[in-house]
């Protein structure tokens, strides 16, 4: 597929390509974050027949709809490539010895071999938490490792 990129001075960038069925499609990315979905006229290839302006949110939704199967496919590929690894989500319970303590204090990687790759707090994903990250009760810790290793992290965070 031949994707053409054209700068639009003062407005943004235009990408367009021809589909296998012979229609031409384009997206204008404006500096302010809006997107225009452009469908070219079959008769006059210079002109757009339809041009639909999307807000940044609408653009995100559309790209998710168009890209979703793609992302699932990609994730499946990744887990196949790293066969034997699992991702585990472990909640810091209210009585956990590590609630209100630093991530470094768990020594999780040294003691279990698994890595803490992210923490979910208040529905927000905090990727790659640093050693000085302080856990709170209710945090969900995302751990990657072999099944045995991640289970060991679960015990560690529950019982110390």
């Amino acid at each position: 597929m031949d994707l053409e990129e054209t700068p639009l001075p003062g407005i943004g960038l235009r990408h367009d390509f021809s589909t296998r069925s012979g229609r031409r499609l384009g997206v204008v990315s404006r500096h302010d974050g809006r997107r225009d979905l452009v469908i070219y006229d079959a008769e006059d290839p210079d002109a757009s027949r339809e041009s639909i302006t999307l807000t940044p949110e609408e653009g995100d939704v559309l790209s998710e709809l168009l890209g979703a199967p793609h992302i699932v496919q990609r994730l499946a590929d990744i887990s196949r490539a790293f066969a034997g690894l699992v991702g585990e989500q472990i909640e810091i319970a209210a009585g956990s010895p590590y609630a209100d303590r630093l991530l470094a204090a768990t020594q999780a990687r040294t003691r279990t071999g698994a890595s803490i790759v992210a923490v979910v707090r208040d529905h927000q994903v905090l990727a790659s938490p640093r050693p000085d990250f302080r856990f709170r009760a209710g945090d969900i810790v995302v751990v990657v490792g072999t099944p045995e290793n991640t289970a060991a992290v679960g015990r560690l965070l529950r019982d110390g």
């Binding site: 054209t6 700068p7 639009l8 001075p9 003062g10 407005i11 235009r14 367009d16 384009g26 204008v28 404006r30 500096h31 302010d32 225009d36 452009v38 070219y40 006059d44 290839p45 210079d46 002109a47 757009s48 339809e50 041009s51």
Partner: protein
Amino acid sequence: MHDTATTFLELGAVLFVLGVLGHLASRVAISPIPLYLLAGLAFGHGGVIPLGASEEFIEIGAEIGVILLLLTLGLEYTAEELLHGLRRQAPAGALDLTLNALPGVVAALVLGWGPLAAVVMGGVTAISSSGIIAKVLGDLGRLGNRETPVVLSVLVLEDLAMAVYLPVLTAMLAHHTVARGSLTVAVALGALVLVLYIALKHSEKVTLLVYSARSDRNDEVLLLRSLGLTLFVAGVAQRMQVSAAVGAFLVGIALSGPVAEGAREVLTPLRDLFAAVFFVFFGLQTDPVDIPPALLTASLLAIAGVITKVATGWWAARRAGIATMGRFRAGAALVARGEFSIVIAGLAVAAGVNPRLGPLAACYVLLMAVLGPLAARFVEPIVRTVRNWWRSRRPPEAMTPRDA
């Protein structure tokens, strides 16, 4: 000294009327600029409603309006886009400026206004209104069209030409001696080259003056710092007799990236306010009785202006390999003149070049700001009708199979 109450009453009334006119303009999908000019004609000396107390404020507001118009123009394009446009579309830009300055120059010479007025009128007829055109292209859903980059790069080159033209014009209007005049022009051009260099190589340092990336975006800080920097540089430029507008334009070019986008967002409402004041001020300076005598010349200039812009767009689009309909769309899109024609005429009026120049420029912009969007909207049906009529005139046996 007038009392504050009268000033508020007058200003309030003027701004409210402008608001109503702007609403009207958006309802019938035309640019509000001609209506603002008409409002300016209606107010003030010789108009229906005289203004006394607020004229002082309107005058300063108009000056700020010019600075903000040029600042946002500079913010619109990055230095890369300017240089890229220069490399790719230089012939189209040269044709655009020669062809479109010509009617103005000829008109001024034929009317016997002298070479200085010819330089001014050339600028008035040459520069398209990038504001009106960008809005019309967006409204008509033509941003994705293949002729649109051609239209935009012609606008970019006009921009660059303005950066050279304004200091030259300012020097000429100030009646400098040749030596003094060439010095100011050299300073301005040197500054332009320097700013382009800084914008290309050290943009992030200039950017630090108005915004630090580490703190979260703060609209208030961004607004005060970018406006402050611009007014300061404009003041320095004016002191050096280079024209405040050029200073503001250069600040706009030097700022780039997300900061330019942010600055444009926070400054746009302010620009809209002061630009409206500027158009009113230009109208105020013009006595309505001077308008009818200027109408004939303005109409002739308007006809010439439509033809020369369509020719420019047609040629530039053909160069880019666009088909016939697209060439006419490109030409029609370029027709609108507006804010920058008034900015140029405003400089000349302030310098007292010719008392008839102001009314003519006002009349010309009134026509072109209305004609431009109409031309862009109706070019396709017009071209199609003319083409069908042309074909129907030819005897059927002369028709090639492709036409059928």
